[in-house]
């Protein structure tokens, strides 16, 4: 006994060997059993392998005994509790005993009957499997295996498991609360809806089984009842659900697999008597339409802002203290990025910090919100994602899609009230009709993707925060919407009447017309125009709490990285503070649906100034178990990143797809036409020659002749036989006064252009010459189809007047200034009065390219309301080796070197101040100086830029 006590560590040590040693019986007994099976089928029996098996079974039994023994020791010394461990313990000993019997049975003399031996061994293996599973559940968690299955990703399974745990705890008490029995039943019905309705519903009754009604469930199918209330083990449905996938009678038969938590819920429900909840209850929880009118919690000296008063109450209820707040330096960086998507200038930051005015934060917020363009150019990306508006994409080629860019830009810049925006989106003016027109591809499309259905789907998702996509094919498995409701909504957008298609097959039924939330009112208009007007009314009226709650929640999500409800497209989920959300929404309505008012309310709260919080994962953020502790660490969006690099280092983009200034030019992109197999092809690499003659009637009257030229890739420009200039980058628009080269009468522009690259690729010339006379009249000579070109190297005098361009061809047009592969170059402007409001091409205004796409700007073929924020390999790879970014950094290095010719220390300090909002610390200074102390080269500066913009500190909003 003394020895025992003195050296408990030995027992504990042996106990810890259990997890290792258990694999012996597992492996050996299973192999022995398999060998046995193989002999069983091979008749006559091979005595050889039986003999062989004696050894295996014996070793297996001995190792099983040891495993059980060590496991018991582990149980004694380890901190294990719960039913699973007890089951595992008992199971372990049963296995060991069965294995021992089997071993005796195999080695017995005279030999036992084969069947007896084998049955014992079989039972041992069976017991082993069950016990092993319990063991694995203890070690790795009950859903160790199932959690990696794709269907179980995301919060749903997690939530289900939580509910399962809750229900299980009720079942272990004496009485199961009746309302919880209702809930349990609803969970089970949701499982049926998701997994079984496709084949077993009123609409489709495979095997005579209907699972979407109480009668159907209790009646069962053709082969009898499916459940025995109170006894899940004897219920056919459980048997079917738990059969191996390969079994013929396994359910569901194809594709789907129920998660173990789902099966457990069904088990529990039957064992609890298969209670059926009141039929009037919806299967899925649904948010109420009206806003609750919450009372703002009382103010305290510390918290007077309504948002803070709600949050204060929230923290109090959670028994938590307020987390820390950010300082001025962090605040100004955060609020700039959130409102303008840009960084504050270092001098401005310093002045802000030193400003003693207690209202300075509020003043800063007002200043940022009042400036219309920077505000709009940042907000635009969010709205483009939400309304799937883009400058390029499918459908445009055949006119099957229309942009709403100018409507959207102007609405945001003028801070149009949101109810007005809603009305113009659903009952559109020509500039906003692209939203409900949707995307049309040539040819036939699936009935669930007809334009009317797209309109209904997008309004539901983007504006109402409800998923109608499922219900546009069949009754939804994720909410209460039905196929008929979806069609009734889609039917609002057409002059004809839609036939209802179920899973792309006609049902013969015609759709009615109704809004998906009929409690808000009817749509009864006789014609399309009236109906859209009615819809606009229903969508925007203040009783529609849902539509405003959805927007408020999206803005909260943008500023805090997680909505008051998540996911933001499912407004029927539970809010972490419904009162806060409803108060904000009501306040938004009460203040004229003013988006800037909403932003001001959120930004001026102390809650917004909380330090960002390190939440464990993005899955946690999406889950209903989320608890608010401050904003998340948000990553710069593609646009924010690109704009900030443009701002600090050097412009990344030089042309835009949408120019808010509306500047236009009649110049066209032209190049030499190239033909292969009778068809136009992309320009091949090589030199091409271009000519254009024009007449100046009175050169004396000419006061100004301004020429703009952009060539992809290289050019040499001649006017009347004289060299004027050359260039090698289309983005650097060549711009100069060329009056001195012009003459009375005939004039000639000649351009030698070169397309670079190894294979054919876009090439083009864009030219505009503005000829202004003393009367103030301006005439333009532009690149267009009146130009001539050749690819054959011409005689020496080709660029002089008088050369006969015989055999030259008419050029081919590759787009206009307004619309082309290159976008509108910002520098392609004749006079300052044409200048746009942009200092560089903001990323929200440029056409999607691979770089922005990799950084996370979505392809706007579908609505996007949340972008992924985690870095990917493709992103870092692109940021590490993209040639264009490399060029931007090199150019920026040139500028910075010129600005700080001999003061590397100041360069580093100012870079840090601008990029990170702080000075480098001592260590960082040391590292950075080592980089540039001896060789203060542009290369080294570019490398510093690269390192800084890839720092998490730069990429994450503080």
């Amino acid at each position: 006994m003394n020895i025992l006590l003195a050296s408990t560590w030995i027992w504990e040590f042996l106990g810890r060997l259990h997890p290792m040693i258990v694999h012996f019986p597992i492996g050996i007994l299973v192999v022995a059993f398999l060998l046995e099976l193989s002999t069983f089928w091979r008749k006559p029996q091979a005595p050889f392998s039986r003999k062989h098996n004696q050894i295996w079974v014996t070793i297996g039994a001995i190792s099983a005994l040891f495993s059980a023994l060590f496991g018991t020791l582990l149980y004694q010394f380890g901190s294990y509790q719960g039913t699973t461990i007890q089951l595992h313990l008992i199971g372990g000993w049963i296995t060991a005993l069965l294995a021992t019997f089997a071993a005796f049975s195999y080695t017995a003399k005279p030999p036992n009957s084969h069947t007896v031996s084998m049955t014992t061994l079989g039972l041992a293996v069976l017991s082993l499997v069950v016990t092993g599973h319990w063991g694995a559940s203890i070690t790795h968690g009950a859903n160790y295996l199932t959690e990696v299955l794709p269907s179980n990703e995301g919060p749903t399974d997690h939530e289900r498991s939580e509910k399962l745990a809750l229900f299980t705890s009720f079942s272990q008490q004496d009485s199961f609360p009746p309302d919880q029995l209702d809930q349990l039943n609803l969970e089970v019905r949701a499982i049926f809806a998701h997994n079984c309705y496709q084949c077993h519903s009123t609409e489709k009754q495979k095997g005579g089984l209907v699972l979407d009604s109480k009668e159907g469930v209790f009646k069962g199918g053709d082969s009898g009842p499916i459940l025995l209330p109170g006894n899940s083990e004897k219920s056919e449905i459980i048997r079917r659900l738990e059969l191996p996938r390969s079994h013929e009678e396994s359910m569901p038969p194809k594709g789907k697999v129920l998660a173990s938590s789902e099966i457990s819920l069904v088990h529990l429900w039957i064992d609890q008597g298969a209670h059926w909840a009141d039929a009037s209850l919806s299967i899925f929880p649904e948010a109420s339409m009206a806003l609750s009118k919450p009372v703002v919690p009382p103010a305290s000296p510390q918290f007077s802002h309504p948002v803070d008063r709600f949050v204060n109450q929230y923290f109090q209820e959670k028994g938590r203290a307020w987390p820390k707040f950010i300082d001025d330096r962090t605040f100004i960086r955060r609020v700039y990025l959130d409102v303008w998507g840009l960084l504050p200038e270092p001098d401005y930051v310093q002045a802000f910090i030193e400003d003693p005015n207690p209202k300075k934060r509020g003043n800063l917020i007002d200043k940022l919100l009042e400036e219309e363009h920077n505000y709009t150019q940042h907000a635009l990306s969010f709205w483009n994602d939400l309304l799937r508006n883009d400058y390029s994409g499918t459908g445009f080629i055949t006119g099957g899609r229309k942009q709403i860019s100018s409507w959207l830009y102007q609405s945001l810049a003028s801070n149009k009230s949101y109810d007005q925006m809603l009305r113009e989106l659903v009952n559109p003016i020509p500039e906003s009709e692209g939203f409900i027109k949707g995307i049309r591809w040539r040819g036939g499309v699936n009935s669930s993707q007809r334009p009317e259905m797209q309109a209904a789907q997008n309004i539901s998702q983007s504006l109402l925060g409800v998923n109608m996509k499922c219900a546009s094919c069949h009754n939804s498995f994720v909410n209460n919407l039905t196929l008929d409701q979806s069609y009734a909504f889609a039917n609002v957008f057409t002059d004809t009447t839609l036939e209802i298609f179920r899973c792309d097959k006609p049902t013969g039924r015609m759709a009615s017309r109704a809004f998906i939330y009929p409690e808000l009112g009817e749509i009864a208009g006789a014609d399309l125009a009236t109906r859209l007007e009615e819809l606009a009314g229903l969508m925007s009226k203040p009783e529609n709490g849902r539509v405003y709650r959805t927007l408020v929640n999206r803005y909260w999500d943008r500023l805090f990285g997680r909505g008051i409800i998540a996911p933001v497209d499912n407004m029927d989920k539970k809010a972490w503070d419904q009162d806060l959300l409803d108060w904000l929404s009501a306040d938004f309505i009460a203040n004229g649906y003013d988006i800037k008012h909403l932003l001001r309310t959120l930004l001026s709260s102390q809650t917004y100034s909380l330090e960002s919080f390190a939440y464990p994962s993005s899955a946690y953020l999406r889950s209903e178990s989320f608890e608010f502790s401050g904003p998340t660490h948000r990553r710069l969006s593609a646009e924010q990143f690109v704009d900030v690099v443009s701002q600090i280092i050097s412009p990344v983009y030089h042309s835009v797809a949408y120019d808010p200034s509306g500047y236009a030019s009649s110049a066209e992109w032209i190049w030499h036409p190239e033909i292969e197999v009778d068809r136009h092809v992309l320009p091949k690499p090589g030199m091409r020659y271009f000519r254009k003659t024009f007449t100046i009637p009175d050169v004396e009257k000419l006061t100004d002749a301004h020429l703009l030229l952009s060539v992809d890739h290289r050019f040499t420009l001649y006017l009347n036989g004289k060299f004027v200039g050359s260039g090698s980058d289309w983005r650097e628009v060549f711009s100069r006064n060329v009056k001195e080269f012009l003459q009375q009468g005939e004039n000639l522009i000649a351009i030698e252009g070169q397309n670079e690259g190894s294979i054919s690729n876009p090439a083009g010339i864009l030219l505009s010459l503005a000829l202004t006379d003393s009367g103030g009249e301006t005439a333009y000579v532009v690149s267009d189809r009146t130009w001539q070109s050749t690819q054959i190297s011409p005689p020496k005098n080709w660029f002089r007047i008088g050369f006969e361009a015989t055999g030259w061809e008419k050029v081919r047009r590759f787009g206009s200034f307004q619309r082309s592969h290159w976008g509108k170059p910002l520098a392609f402007r004749h006079a300052l009065s044409d200048t746009t409001t942009l200092s560089f091409a903001r990323a929200s205004l440029v056409q999607l390219d691979p770089f922005l796409k990799v950084l996370g700007r979505p392809v706007r073929e579908n609505v996007t309301t949340k972008r992924p924020t985690e870095a990917t390999l493709l992103q870092t790879l692109t940021l590490s080796n993209d040639a264009a970014l490399h060029e931007v950094l090199s150019k920026g290095a040139q500028h910075w070197k010129n600005a700080y010719p001999n003061t590397p220390d100041r360069l580093v300090e100012d870079l840090y101040l601008y990029a990170l909002g702080r000075k480098p610390n001592k260590q960082e200074k040391g590292t950075l100086y080592t980089q540039i102390k001896n060789r203060y080269t542009e290369q080294d500066i570019a490398d510093i830029f690269w390192a800084v913009i890839l720092l998490p500190e730069f990429q994450l909003i503080p």
């Binding site: 036939g444 870095a871 610390n921």
Partner: protein
């Protein structure tokens, strides 16, 4: 890590996984992991004949009707004579002798039926072929290469799991092409790695031009030090920060790896280079061979879609097909031979296909009249009108080799008389996709829940593989 070492590691890992999960009931009853037992291929090469390759002019020739001035359009059947292949009784159209000579190493499907999507738009059919879903869809649908990349990851970590060779997006219908050259909801991580010009492949996996390895290293060292010294370095980290630092480290490892030499065609022996060099497609095949030998997962090599070019013959069909056949015949056959001889064909599934076929007269499919896009005169007086200029969807040929596909097998047939539609063993896109997934060991129930909708590799997870063509 070379391929072998990688495979070894994978094997160890899966053995370990098995050891720890045997005896687990839930494992046995709901096994959804990779279907190791059906796995016969590690890699896929898709040879994409963009623009609609006519089956009766390539791998399923019918009666030869030579050009004669004034012949009736409806009398034109095949514009080339037949030539024998390595399989008895199986003929190809003239100009495909080389591919014919390796037919005994693979399977010919003659009964593929493309979907009926109404008024023809090439890119919509291409979308359907590559994603298994008819466009448009209410969610962003992944390309099959992205599914495979997502489910299996790279073979060699240095070689991106989904590489797309030869397609440019500055051509007509570029936006429509982009719509399916995408990982969709799976995320850009699994999207295609584009190499439009196979001779420039290396550039995409190397530090930017002008940056020496030394500079690359010192830049990276600077980055690491600044992370350590900055204020965030000490603070409790968050998952965004971790994902960024982790991805940076992986990008660094990849860019400096000597193994990316696989992308450099200039390192190939001259005779091998020339054996493939019929242009960008041929060199794309060579690059695919090099990458598969060093551990690529999914590679698409395309003849490139550019409206009215390549296989998209709206005129001059006969003349242009001569050139197209010369463009693909030698490199495709060479690819099969080389992979076979190096032993890689056993684990590499090569598939040659097109979005649909063509016919002289029929647009779409018989019995479902859709808008003609090419006027065809009743009489052929000009060689320009001699060829298959309309889009035909009801019978197409697909070739497959390796990776578990039978050698010397022919599946299905088309009618000998117009319409040349598939008359036996009809094969649909979900069969093709599921056969590929089957060979790769990706279970048919693979799906993700996206906006509440379970989205499967094939619609509803119901695609059936083609047992008759698999070993």
């Amino acid at each position: 890590m070379n391929r072998r070492a990688f495979l070894d590691k994978m094997q160890q890992a899966s053995l370990a996984a098995m050891a720890s999960s045997i005896g687990s009931a839930s494992f046995l009853s709901s096994c959804k992991g990779a279907m190791e037992h059906t796995r016969s291929a590690d890699s896929v090469i898709l040879l994409w004949m963009a623009g609609g390759m006519c089956h009766t002019e390539t791998f399923d020739p019918k009666a030869y009707t030579p050009f004669e001035k004034g012949m009736e359009s409806k009398s034109v059947v095949s514009t080339f004579p037949k030539v024998p292949t390595a399989l008895d009784g199986i003929y190809f159209s003239e100009g495909l002798e080389e591919i014919g000579s390796v037919l005994d190493r693979g399977t010919l499907i003659r009964s593929y039926r493309a979907a009926d999507l109404g008024h023809i738009l090439h890119t919509r059919h291409q979308y359907h072929w590559h994603t298994c879903y008819e466009p448009p869809q209410s969610v962003q649908v992944p390309h099959i290469g992205s599914w495979i990349a997502r489910e299996l990851g790279p073979v060699n970590p240095v070689i991106p799991p989904f590489i797309d060779i030869g397609q440019r997006f500055s051509v007509g219908e570029g936006e429509e092409l982009k719509a399916f050259h995408s990982a969709g909801f799976l995320g850009t991580e699994f999207g295609p790695f584009f190499i439009p010009d196979p001779t420039k492949g290396l550039e995409s996996v190397r530090p930017p031009a002008g940056m020496s390895l030394q500079r690359f290293e010192s830049r990276n060292k600077l980055y690491r030090e600044l992370i350590k010294q900055g204020p965030l370095g000490e603070k409790s980290s968050n998952y965004q920060q971790e994902s960024l630092i982790r991805s940076m480290e992986r990008a660094y490892q990849l860019l400096k790896s000597p193994e990316v030499e696989a992308f450099a065609l200039e390192n190939e022996a001259e005779d091998v280079y020339e054996a493939y060099n019929t242009g960008r497609f041929g060199l794309g095949c060579l690059l695919a061979k090099r990458l598969v030998e060093r551990g690529a997962r999914f590679i698409s090599v395309t003849t490139e879609y550019e409206p009215f070019l390549g296989w998209d013959t709206h005129e001059n069909g006969h003349t242009r097909l001569k050139a197209m056949k010369a463009y693909i015949d030698r490199p495709v056959a060479q690819l099969i031979k080389d992979l076979d001889e190096s032993g890689h064909l056993d684990r590499t599934l090569v598939i040659l296909a097109s979005e649909f076929s063509r016919d002289m007269l029929l647009e779409g499919r018989p019995g479902a009249k859709i808008k003609d896009q090419v006027p065809v005169p009743d009489e052929v007086n000009d060689l320009r009108n001699y060829g298959m200029h309309r889009h035909f969807t009801d019978g197409c040929s697909i070739l497959m080799w390796g990776g578990g596909v039978k050698r010397g097998c022919v599946l299905g047939e088309t009618a000998e008389e117009r319409p040349f539609r598939a008359i036996t063993e009809p094969v649909y896109i979900e069969n093709i996709h599921q056969s590929m997934y089957h060979c790769l060991g990706i279970p048919p129930e693979t799906h993700y829940e996206i906006e509440g909708r379970p989205f499967y590799t094939t619609p509803e997870g119901t695609g059936k593989y083609l047992p008759d063509i698999l070993v």
